[in-house]
Structure formats: C-alpha cells, structure tokens
Symmetry: D2
Subunit: 278 residues, 4 copies
C-alpha cells in the first residue's frame, strides 16, 4: 500500500506541503499512522504543473525512499506549483522500479493510487487485454495501479473522469469475481488534468483505505486567526491526503466511504461513487 | 543493442573472463567494436550456476553501467562458476530498469539477447497475447527480449530449445509482417538450462549481428603452448561471445548466418537455424 | 543508528540467517524492536569469506533498503559462507551512498558499527588528521564509522584488535571532550580477519546499544532436541547480533556493558573492555 | 575527465541547451569529440537558479549516465532558468556517487570542474588539511574537484573569485611539486554566485583541456539572420562549454590557454590567469 497527497491552490513551494507539516508525507514514509504498513520506502514520485509549461506535468520519480532522497529535497526547496501530486510507495510485491512509481502520466493527465487489486497476478492478463490497443504499449511498469489508469483511459477518462473510473471499477470487479475473488478492489485514487482534481475512495468490501480533505481555507482562518500560513493561501486552496498532515483542529475531514470529491475552480463538490457494471 | 558472452567449462573466477581479457565484456561496455553502439551502459546482468546450489542460477543485475559497478567487480573477484552468462545493455528506448536487464530467468533456465524486434512498440500487444497465460504474469519488464523468452517458453523451450526458438521466430516474423514490417527480427540469443548452452544467430534480413565461439581448447594449446591460461581449463571449455575478447590468432570463429551452436557434455555441435512458420 | 549481525561457523547459505529467522535482519530493516529507529532503510551491506578465495572478503553493498533488494535476495539464495557480516543502515545525516555502507574493508579485515560519535560533524577534521597518512586516502565515505575503523587500523588493529579499538575509543573520547562533548561515543562494533571475530559493546555514557550472542550450539541442542537446524551446524557456530533473530528460549545472551567477545577456533571468550587514554 | 557547460542569459527551458543542439551535452555523454574519454557516463549534475528562489541554486545530481536519466529529461522539459550549470562525469577512479557529482554548492555558489589533480590519491591528505576547518566538514565526496572548491572557498572565493582560484592553483602546484609531481594540475573550472560566471582554463603543463565561449548574440544574429533561436535571446546571453554544441560558423571561440572569462551584467571580459604562489 502507499500514501499520497494532492494539492491545488495558491502556488506554493513544494517544501511547504511535502516536508514542513508535523506529519508530512515524508514523515509518513517512515511512520505512517493509518496505512497498512508503517514504512513506505519502495520508491516515490512527485508530479507538478508549472505555470509556464502547462501542457504536461513534470515528474520526479525514484526507487529509493523519499525520506533520504536529495533530489526530492532540492526540488521541494526550489520549485513552486499551483497543482501537484506526491506519492510514497510500499510495494505489495511488484518490482521496485521507476516505472512502477506513481504518479503515472498520460498526456496532461496524472493518476495515483493507494490500495490493490486482490490477486492481481492471476488477473493481470485478462485486465491488460481490455486496455485500448492504442495505449497498450504505453504501459511501462507492472503495477495494478497503472493498469487501472489505462483501463480508465480506455473507458473515457479524458472526457468523463467519474464515469471512466466507475467503468474501470466495474470491470475490475467483474473480472475479479470471474476469478473467484470476493473483494477484488481496494482504492483511493487521485486523477487530474491540471485544472481539476478528482479523488475517489472505494473498495469492493466497503471498508476503504483512509482519505481526507482539508477544510475551506476561509473557515480555517476563522478557527485559527493566528496561523500565518493560512493568510498566504487563497480560499480555493485544497489538500486531499491519505492521512492528515497534522493535528490542527477542524482542518481535516474524512471523504465518506464510496464517494469522490472534485476540486475545481468555483465550489468544490462531493458525490457518491458507484461502480458501473461492465 | 547489446553485447553478451556465455561461458561453459572448467569453473573459473568470473573475473578471468569478465575483466581480464584485453577486449573484455567490461571493455566492450565502453568501447564495443562490432556493436551498433560503441557504448553499452544501460544496465548489465550476470547469471551463474554455483556447484552447490544448482536448482536455479543466481542473478546480479543493475541499472548503471557495468564498467563502474562495484558489486559486479566484487562478485567477479570472489565467485567461481562452471557456467555463466553476462550481458551489457544498450537500450533501444525501453526503460533502464533491473527487470529489463538480461539474463532473464525461468526456473533453471536463462536467456539473453542482442538485437531487436523492429517496431516492437506497435507489435507488443499482439505478441504478449500469444504468451501462455500460465507464465504471462511472470513478465516483469518491457523489453522485446523478455517477450521473446516467454514466447519460447510457451512453445516448449524446456523440452526442445531449438524447436521452441524456431517457432518463436516464426511467430514474430508473421506478426511483424502483418504489421507491415519487412524485417521483423534481429537476434543473437543464448539460452541454457545449466547443463547445455544453445546460441542462435539469425535475422529476418539475413544480416545478423556478430557472434563468435572459441576454438577447442586442445587446438588452442597446440597453437599457443606458452599460454598458461590454456593449461588450466578443460578441453570442454567454450566461450560464445558477441565479439572476440582479444586478438589471439586462431581463437575465435564466427557462428555462420542462420545457425545455432550447442555447447554440451561431449562434442559440441553447429546446426542450421530455420524459423518455423506459425 | 543501524542493526548488524556476524556469523561464524558451519558454512551456510546466507538466506538461512539473513531471511529465514522470524525476526531476521531483513525483518529488522522494517521493524527493528530494540534499535533507535524502527526503520533501517538507508543502505545495507554483506561481506563474506568464500572457502576458495580467502584473501579478501567479498562485499555487496547498495544504497536502497535491504528489504526490497533483489541482488541481496539472489546472493542469499546462492552463496554459502563460513563467516559473514551483514549490516542495515539508518543514516544519522551523512549521505546515503555505497561508500557509507558497512561493512568497511581493509585488506582481509572487515568492520561494521552501530552507534555514533556525538557531534561528529564538528570533530571530523581533528579525527581524520590522526589517521595514518598511509591509509588516509583509502577513506572513501563520510561516516564516523569508517573514521573509527581507520583510526583502529592506525593504532594496530591488525596486530592487536582489542588494544587498537581501546586506543581508538580513548582517542575519540579525548577529542570529544576537547570539543565539550560529554559522552562522545556510542558503539557496538564487529571486526574480523576472516578467522576470528571480535565484537565490542561500549558507550561513553555506560548505556550502550543492545548486543547479543547466541548460546553454544551443543547447549541449544539439549534444550531443543527437535530443532533440525541445530543438528546441521557445528558446536563452534556462533552469531552476534544487534537484536535477537527470534524468541527461542535460551538462545540469546546479552553482551554485558563495556565488554567484548571473541569468536575463534577453540573456546570463545568474553572480556571487559576499557578505553585506553590517548 | 568530464564535460560541462554554463549558461547565462535570457531564461530558457533547460531542454533548449541540454538536449536540442546537435552535439548537446547529452550527446557528448555518449560521443564526446574533444574529451579524454568518448564516454562520460559516471554520473551527472545540473544546478540552476530559479527566478523566485534565488538564495541558493537547485541541484539535480545522479549516479547513472545523463543520456538515459528520466528525471533529468523531465526537468529539462519543464524548468526554465536564466543561469545554470550542467556537468557529465567520467570518473578517473573515485567512487561513482551523488556526492562526487558536479556542480558542488556552497551557499549560493556553484563550482564544476573538468580535469584532475595528478596523483591526487597521494596528495589528498595534505590538501584537505589546508581547507578552512570551518568548512572542512561540508566536504561530502572524495573528488579532487571538491577539494579544489573548498580550497578556493578557504582562500576567499566569495570575495575575490579570480584571486581565490589563483591561490588554490598555486597551492595545489606547490603541494604537488613537494610530492614530486611535475604537472600537478589540469583544469577548466566554472564558478558562479548566481549573478556572474567565472570560467578558467589552466594546466601546469600549459596544455589545457578545451574550453569555448559563444560569440555575442548580436554578432551571431548578423551572421545568421534566419536563425529563429537567436531572435529569442538577449544580447547578453552567453554559453561556456567544454566543447562546441554544434557547427554553427562563427559561434564558438576558444578560451585561450591560461585565461579566464567573466560573464556578467554589462560587457563580459577575458583576462590572463596566473597562479599565485602559496
């Protein structure tokens, strides 16, 4: 399993979010509290959009742990972004290699995942065969997460993200059950096109991995008028995280089971998530 | 493209073959003379059988260049083996990662390859679909070479190596031509079960990458009675290499176009290789 | 801080000691119970003597975590040794690089360390200046552990290991106190020449990191007559470990504070350790 | 030996300079024409100043070859900078590790080097002892290049770069000659504080490695009125390179033997370089 975070809002130095908080993602790489594993040291990735070059996000991914990676530390100290993903990996068996590190990218889209397809080893062939042949050869790694991404691409991610994810999940559940797997999927997923972020929390069993979103900044400012940090970011600023980055009262809200949130210009939204039978 | 060597014979410290020769494989990683690229620095691998643990070969593979790898240097200085493969990689585009480094292993079998499937990116899906579903999920990397290996496994490598390779080649050529590729395959391949080594030289175009085998040791001893090295190895000892390791007169013989050799207990053999239409 | 083990006895596949035990060193890399950190993921190293090539030990060291390293897994499955060291690192700030991974080697000697020189950053220059100029340029990394090793070499490690270590400790304590450091040194150290192993437990504060040695195999056999493993190893076989590899009653004994043990042909020995003022 | 380039001028995407030119630095990592080695695959580094965070430059350094590094490719595609250094390394024996990759950094200063101190292994101790104790512990690697940098820092680099470098060279030559080395130093060096770039070409033997600077952009525009690229960059834009990035007539000028250039706001300058006896 893994831990991840998605940031959208006022452009910030990555350091502000990745390293500074008390229970930052880097801290979680060593001491996750809510994850299946306490250690998430099997590679990491950061993907960010830069104001000048918005056609595709940039990726920094490497196979060692995030906590001791100097290039990540350098980037975090020198790069600002209005929208970025970060992910730390705990492999459930597949190889520790750059192409298995999240986020995955397709054009200007990014995808990251915490969870697993149960018995993926047995289902892998059936699932990859259902990926659009036009994108099949873009698969570079061997994770369930990347297969889920390309299935979602196959099912229209670029036009209708919630629908495409619902169809991907419906398919994985069908194929899983054909293989006799009772609860085929466990996932929290974030996906973005650089403008909006969709974050899904779902599992076949109805007992999904944790997922939280930050409260509205204007609300937080009233609760904590002394926190300088909150004065520097816009009301629109939002974080979605596998586990809270600290203990600030009122700051974190759980994404409900079988739901997805949309972070977007204007009011954000929360919806029920239902897999689409395929 | 890549460079490789296969050794079979008197157990030797790997160093004797990997580093000591004037134009050793390590030297070829920087200065290949006959390869498509002069530099082969996109990862390497060594696979060896040890006398005590013969059920599977051991693999050391890494993503950096062979020439500066300290773990390879350490192994070469301390490990002896009667049968080993070594490979240095020049990527033709696929990711530089451990799971794309040769040799590949399946049970007690090892496989390594120099060459390429032309337009592999376009053919990849069609080819992997033809791999036996029982071994499909053992594919860990993204190279044409590994797909060729699992196709050969699918077609009976463990029972009939030359036949399985002939069928694999026949298949690749058919699929390639269906995709409009005139010359789908270029290969020199070595495969072993720990007892025998089969080495193939073939290309659809009839213009295959170079491949050489060493002369019989007893013949070489007569030619070079002063070479101490030759007194220490058995008559059975044999090397197969992408390019000669030095200039010793009489030492190296080209494997003819569209042929394969078998290094085995008793007399070695050379046969014509013909793809089997699939 | 770190975790380590030293094995001496009947030649065994490294896997038997490194991976098989319930709380193996590999398990400790993720879940150390007695260490300062629970995670030891900042590189690892194994050094082993092979029966055929006994002039120097072989080293495999790498910068990623031990728990996901495939080359370590391969070696452990295929290499046997009568005497080996293994070490997993948790960096206290110095770079995560191969030359900072233990064990360190000088000729046929190996050294590994758990602990730290307090305020090493400030003392580093004064300490390295006291290293014998003839070995100064052999320093390749930036750890306190390596400096301790070369100081011990400087003070006669190859002739009198306990005396050399006592002088090294005396020196570090003097230099530390000159810099106003109350408790300059914390260490468990193992050192070997391939024949004997010396293991030291000491700290300036008298509160040293844990260190254990295994009971005599003949004693253990009487306690656990049903354990097949114990029938396969000689009476001489001995393990020294940062923390026990399991819960076998009667198997593990703490090395007393300020003591060192010697594992050697014939009866092993335990002595008091006293730094030598320098 | 190595290859490097320094860029100063109109903020550009790193890709424009690192990858796009016909004989780019990335191409030089495989096929250097003027270097001692054709292959420069023992690590690389890029250091850049970003407009927003100008207190220190950011560094991306890694141990593999530049030509296959995906993180470098990503950065080059997404990061712009008005002043950056890039370096590809061919180790002359010291370890291939991140802390041995150039550029080196001290506060807001960066340093990179091509060349070598002859017999550095023997002189290393004498030289490091002459480094200011206050910066001694900042040394993280084992290269001659980093020792040269900290000697220059010791001798006043931050106040008088040419003077500090002249004293560093004078010192290295004296210590070298004390060790019986006839020609102790070979160097092209670039150093910057983020505002100005100093580039030195010198060797004890008077036969220095190649070094070139680009012609004034306004001159080039007149020579090549059809080159769109030249219309996008300011007159002030300047490149200094180990070897030309292409064959554009009139574009490249050799830095004369024993000289240094200064790239700065206003007119750039070229001066004679003379070591200062120490």
């Amino acid at each position: 399993m893994c831990r991840w975070l998605a940031y959208s809002g006022t452009p910030l130095l990555l350091d502000t979010i990745l390293y500074k908080p008390a229970h930052s993602l880097i801290d979680q790489s060593l001491h996750s509290k809510l994850g299946v594993e306490t250690t998430n040291g099997d590679g990491f990735g950061v993907g960010w959009y830069s104001p000048e070059h918005t056609d595709t996000p940039a990726l920094l991914r490497d196979v060692g742990p995030a906590w001791n990676n100097r290039n990540l530390r350098e980037l975090a100290d020198h790069v600002s972004s209005p929208l970025f993903f970060a992910h730390i990996r705990a492999s459930t068996g597949t190889a520790v290699q750059q192409t298995n590190c999240h986020p995955f990218r397709h054009g200007r889209w990014m995808w990251m995942h915490n969870g697993a397809i149960a018995d993926f080893h047995r289902m892998r062939r059936d699932l990859v065969l259902l990926i659009d042949p036009l994108v099949f050869s873009d698969i570079e790694g061997t994770t369930d997460s990347e297969v889920m991404f390309y299935l979602a691409v196959t099912f229209g991610l670029e036009k209708d993200p919630p629908g495409a994810v619902a169809r991907m999940v419906g398919l994985v559940e069908r194929v899983g059950r054909e293989h006799g797997v009772q609860f085929p999927l466990q996932m929290t997923v974030a996906v973005t096109d650089g403008e909006r972020v969709w974050a899904f929390r779902y599992s076949s069993q109805g007992a999904s991995r944790s997922l939280f979103y930050s409260s509205r900044v204007d609300t937080l400012r009233k609760l904590h008028p002394d926190m300088a940090f909150l004065r520097d970011v816009s009301d629109e600023t939002r974080l979605i995280v596998s586990e809270p980055l600290g203990d600030l009262p009122g700051a974190w809200n759980e994404v409900p089971e079988s739901c997805y949130g949309v972070v977007q210009p204007g009011a954000d939204a929360m919806h029920t998530f239902t897999p689409e039978p395929m």
